[in-house]
């Protein structure tokens, strides 16, 4: 048997195996398309290897240690000893299981997996450079491509991730020991989650933030709950200052230098500094321009509501296609890309994408805030339920926070919710469903919720918005 020239061809080429790419690849294969998935580093992308999953593993583990050591009120006296190396090993085990699972799922669905870094040759061909010495490269022709190359932490002047004492989020998730003093540059969700982890593991943590508060996109009363709790954990905050650089200190540690807008300088002693000031899309090395694709001024690929770039048969999904830079948004976009390519009428028509912050306590939000709804012209009804009025919250020992639900006053349609408190990341799902289904406050309030659970707070908030809450005073 003889075959000529094989430059492999594929119907759908997916670049990047994060939650955007691998989901797109599997769905496209399920639709009967011939799919090739190229990944240069590790299956699962940032999310599984150095983002969502490892951070949540350490948040749980450090939270457990901290909680066990601070439950005297419940009659528990303990002084847990933390073996960080073992904790990190456990986390890696979780990651390995999930990334191995992604690889298996891809194979089981008939996705061709190729390891290497892809770059466009033209709008029908990519070249994949295999890692390692003398591994060479191959070219793959495609009918459709899905770019899912994700994002990476932004470096700021004065701090190089190449320095051992300068961490990005990935380094903070595989540390060898708990630093005595940690300075966190950036009070966004990644900075706050990791600040909490290290505070609970015993580090002295200082968060330096350019703005006047943490967690910029959230409402003041939501932020306040998280910041207060962080302060209780011993985290110190310096607002209105940006980190500008570092120098060595006489005690063998470092000094982190900051500056206010007015030019006032300060220094903070530290053993490690975590820079978590944002993430930027990964498009370098892709040679997008050879496929005729341009990026916007922040480097993102612009796409339409079916995830198509300006070059129609090239889609972009996930972090590389812009906000919201969240794993579940990436996956949804991946599905729409695959189904669109399969000729189905898929579109990014969701009403809302939920978001969660895994601080202590957690934040979960979906849809519109009260202000958003007013700006959109709705006559707004708002209901709240504080967790300190929830039986279940009291029995968990976590009563900070509240559920707020936002609805259209005329017809009662649920438009959004902000939850801060225990398990907020889970509780928000119910409101997400309500929004997508066009459910009303009445629908949510009349649905029987299990007692005693935190989810009752959602029901109560809906009742409160109708002026009929049982366990809170109606406003």
């Amino acid at each position: 048997m003889v075959v000529g020239d094989i430059s492999t061809g594929t119907e759908v080429l997916v670049i990047g195996a994060g939650p955007g790419g691998y989901v797109a690849a599997i769905r496209a294969a399920q639709k009967g398309l011939d799919v090739t998935l190229v990944e240069k580093d590790a299956y699962g992308g940032a999310c599984l290897n150095r983002g969502c999953i490892p951070s949540k593993a350490l948040i749980t583990a450090s939270g457990l240690a901290h909680e066990a050591g601070t439950a005297e009120e419940m009659g528990i006296h303990a002084d847990p000893a933390v073996d960080l190396a073992r904790m990190i090993e456990w986390k890696e085990g979780v990651v390995d299981r999930l990334t191995g699972g992604v690889e298996k799922l891809c194979k089981a669905n008939g996705v061709n997996l190729i390891e290497g870094a892809a770059s466009f040759v033209d709008d029908q061909t990519v070249r994949v450079a295999h890692g390692g010495d003398g591994q060479g490269s191959e070219s793959i022709e495609f009918e459709h491509a899905i770019v899912a190359t994700g994002s990476r932490p932004v470096e700021i002047p004065g701090f190089s991730f190449a320095d051992e004492h300068v961490w990005n989020s990935a380094a903070a998730l595989s540390a060898e020991s708990v630093p005595d003093r940690l300075v966190v540059g950036g009070g966004g969700y990644i900075g706050m989650e990791l600040a909490t982890v290290y505070a609970k593991l015993g580090a002295d943590v200082t968060v330096v933030e350019m703005l006047e508060d943490v967690l910029d996109p959230y409402e003041d009363d939501v932020k306040r709950v998280v910041r207060k709790r962080a302060e209780d954990l011993g985290i110190e905050f310096s607002f209105g200052e940006g980190a500008t650089g570092w120098s060595e200190a006489s005690d063998g540690g470092y000094l982190v230098h900051t500056e206010t807008e007015a030019g006032e300088e300060s220094t903070y002693p530290a053993d490690r500094v975590l820079v978590a000031v944002g993430r930027e899309p990964v498009t370098d090395g892709l040679d997008l321009e050879r496929a005729g694709i341009e990026t916007d001024d922040r480097g993102f690929i612009e796409t339409d509501d079916r995830t198509r770039s300006a070059v129609e048969h090239v889609h972009a999904v996930g972090d590389v296609a812009g906000e919201p830079m969240l794993a579940h948004a990436a996956s949804k976009e991946g599905i729409v890309a695959a189904e669109t390519i399969a000729g189905e009428p898929a579109a990014l028509d969701q009403r809302a994408i939920p978001a969660a912050v895994f601080t202590d306590p957690e934040i979960g939000t979906v849809g519109m805030t009260e202000t958003d709804a007013e700006e959109a012209g709705f006559d707004v009804a708002v209901g709240e339920m504080p967790f300190n009025a929830s039986g279940r919250a009291l029995t968990t020992g976590h009563t900070d926070g509240f559920v707020r639900i936002v609805a259209d006053a005329d017809e009662g349609f649920v438009l959004g919710a902000q939850i801060v408190g225990p398990e907020a990341s889970e509780l928000i799902a119910e409101v997400g469903l309500a929004i997508e289904m066009g459910a009303t406050l009445e629908d949510v309030a009349a649905t029987v919720h299990t007692h005693p659970t935190l989810s009752e707070a959602v029901m109560e908030a809906a009742e409160n918005a109708q002026g009929q809450a049982i366990h809170t005073l109606n406003r």
Partner: protein, 529 residues
């Protein structure tokens, strides 16, 4: 939002019809005004037909390859789509082929929007349905509380809006499954024209009539079976119900799949046998469908190889010529040269010798180093000697190319072959290294065996397969007295030469083989090459 039909425009002076060569769009695609939607060939030229609208392709009315008279409707678009974009696109066009007036009432082009708070509330499944049916949700009056839109509202709206009574069968939206649709329903589409004709005259060309339900209950195992057999559960006839819904069991699926898949001749019952054309009764299960076994996806490299094989074998009529070279002298020559090759780090195999021998053959019979260009009706004799060498790899067969065999020495060829082969195995060959061969060699003897019928590396004209070099019995004149014959062991190399019989005849192939053998049997001749 409206549906606009588009007729084949007058594509050139006096042209009355054209062949629709290919569609450049498919249903569901968004098109812009002036974007080419089809290629049409007239007896004068191949022209691209541009769209007159901004909109979404609704339906294609003509198959590729069909000859269409100018003025016939070939495609329809929905304009002023769900996103409310460019609802007035149709006004701008002045071509004579402009859409005929809408035959439904002049509804549409809704005042999009309303106040911001009038956003449409509809669950995701309904939003998707709306897109599928091309319905603008904001134009639908929701029947639910507060105007919430449900599935029925969308279907009713689509019905009211639809112009063509044939098209608005709401239970059968035309999803845009141009690719997958075929695969899924392959079974229900095949089947017997004649067999079915006896009972379902109305629908020639199909097996048992698909039931076409909206909803069917069954167990997961049955669903899986249906999936494996390519049967749509909603099409499987059944009398059973559960909770008021049709219920399908495994045996129904099997019976339906069988009846649908039976090829014409089998399905046509012998005359006088009751004449009940189609069997819907369960029949003994076919062992093949009964135990589907493991399925391996036919994709990627495997499929590429398959497609090339198909193209070659179904395009070029192959003839394979077999002969055997006696190669004792060659074996000896290689033994003598091997250590010298090793000194310069080269592992010397028989392949470089064979390449040189083939080179000698091709110089004498250039027709075997050629390519038939069917379209141009010409045979191109190549003046370069680029040999493909088939290499088995984990991913499948690859054929890296050794260029300019006529300009390279034996050792050079040997070194190049082993380099290309090892890089083929770790998939690090550049695409250029797999292109441009003029003649191909396949050394299946490396694994074992004597003869084969190699498939030509299309569009080349010939391929030479090499068996294993081994001692085999040969008949020779008894040495000395010249009085008789004896059977003696000798090293032999079995050759299998496939040729494209369109280009060259068997006699030439045999003569070429003789030259090659001559050079293998007397390797000193290779000094000429």
């Amino acid at each position: 939002m409206t549906v606009k039909e588009f007729r084949l425009p007058d594509v050139g002076e006096g042209v009355a019809e054209g062949e629709l060569v290919s569609w450049l769009v498919a249903p569901g695609d968004r098109v812009e005004e002036d974007q080419p939607v089809a290629e049409v060939e007239t007896d004068k030229a191949l022209v691209e037909v541009p769209s007159s609208y901004d909109g979404v392709v609704e339906e294609l009315f003509v198959e590729e390859g069909e000859v269409v008279p100018v003025g016939d409707v070939i495609i329809s678009f929905r304009v002023g789509g769900a996103d409310g974009a460019s609802a007035d696109a149709e006004s701008g066009d002045t071509k004579p082929t402009d859409a005929e007036p809408d035959d439904s009432e002049p509804t549409s082009v809704e005042a999009e929007s309303g106040s911001p708070s009038r956003r449409t509330f509809a669950p995701p499944s309904v939003r998707r349905l709306a897109r599928e049916l091309g319905v603008d949700l904001s134009a639908v009056d929701g029947s639910g509380p507060g105007g919430r839109v449900d599935e029925r509202d969308v279907r009713e709206h689509a019905d009211a809006e639809g112009s063509d009574p044939d098209e608005d069968d709401a239970t059968d939206p035309k999803p845009v499954e141009m690719d997958t649709g075929d695969r899924k329903s392959a079974v229900s589409k095949r089947g017997s024209a004649e067999g079915a004709g006896a009972t379902t005259a109305a629908e020639p060309g199909s097996g048992p009539e698909p039931a076409g339900r909206d909803r069917t209950l069954s167990t997961p195992a049955t669903r899986k079976l249906a999936n494996d057999l390519g049967v749509d559960l909603d099409d499987v006839p059944t009398d059973e119900t559960r909770e008021g819904e049709a219920f399908v069991a495994e045996e129904h699926v099997r019976a339906y799949a069988e009846a649908s898949a039976r090829p014409d001749d089998e399905a046509a019952p012998p005359a006088g046998e009751g004449g009940s054309g189609v069997e819907t009764e369960p029949t003994p299960a076919d062992p093949a469908t009964d135990a589907p076994g493991e399925t391996i996806p036919y994709r990627g490299v495997r499929r590429t190889i398959g497609e090339r094989m198909e193209q070659s074998k179904f395009t070029a009529p192959h003839v394979t010529h077999h002969d055997t070279a006696e190669v004792d002298a060659l074996v000896a020559a290689r033994e003598r040269l091997k250590p010298r090759a090793a000194e310069v780090g080269v592992k010397l195999t028989y392949l470089p010798f064979v390449m040189k021998a083939v080179l000698a053959g091709l110089r004498e019979y250039p027709i075997l180093n050629s390519e038939l260009r069917e379209e141009a009706e010409e045979i191109v004799l190549k003046d370069e000697y680029h040999f493909g060498v088939a290499v088995a790899t984990d991913a499948g067969l690859m054929v890296p190319v050794i260029e300019d065999v006529d300009e390279k020495g034996l050792f050079e060829l040997a070194a190049e072959v082993s380099d290309l082969a090892s890089r083929a195995r770790d998939r690090s060959l550049a695409p250029e290294e797999l292109r441009g061969s003029t003649f191909t060699l396949t050394n299946f003897g490396a694994i074992g065996g004597e003869y084969a019928t190699p498939i030509i590396n299309y569009p080349e004209t010939a391929v030479l397969g090499l068996g294993a070099v081994e001692k085999r019995p040969v008949v020779r004149e008894r040495s000395g007295d010249g009085t008789g014959h004896e059977v003696v062991p000798a090293s032999t190399l079995p050759l299998s030469l496939s040729i494209d019989h369109r280009v060259v005849d068997g006699a030439v192939a045999a003569e070429f083989a003789n030259v090659v053998m001559d050079h293998l049997e007397e390797p000193l001749l290779l000094l000429n090459e």
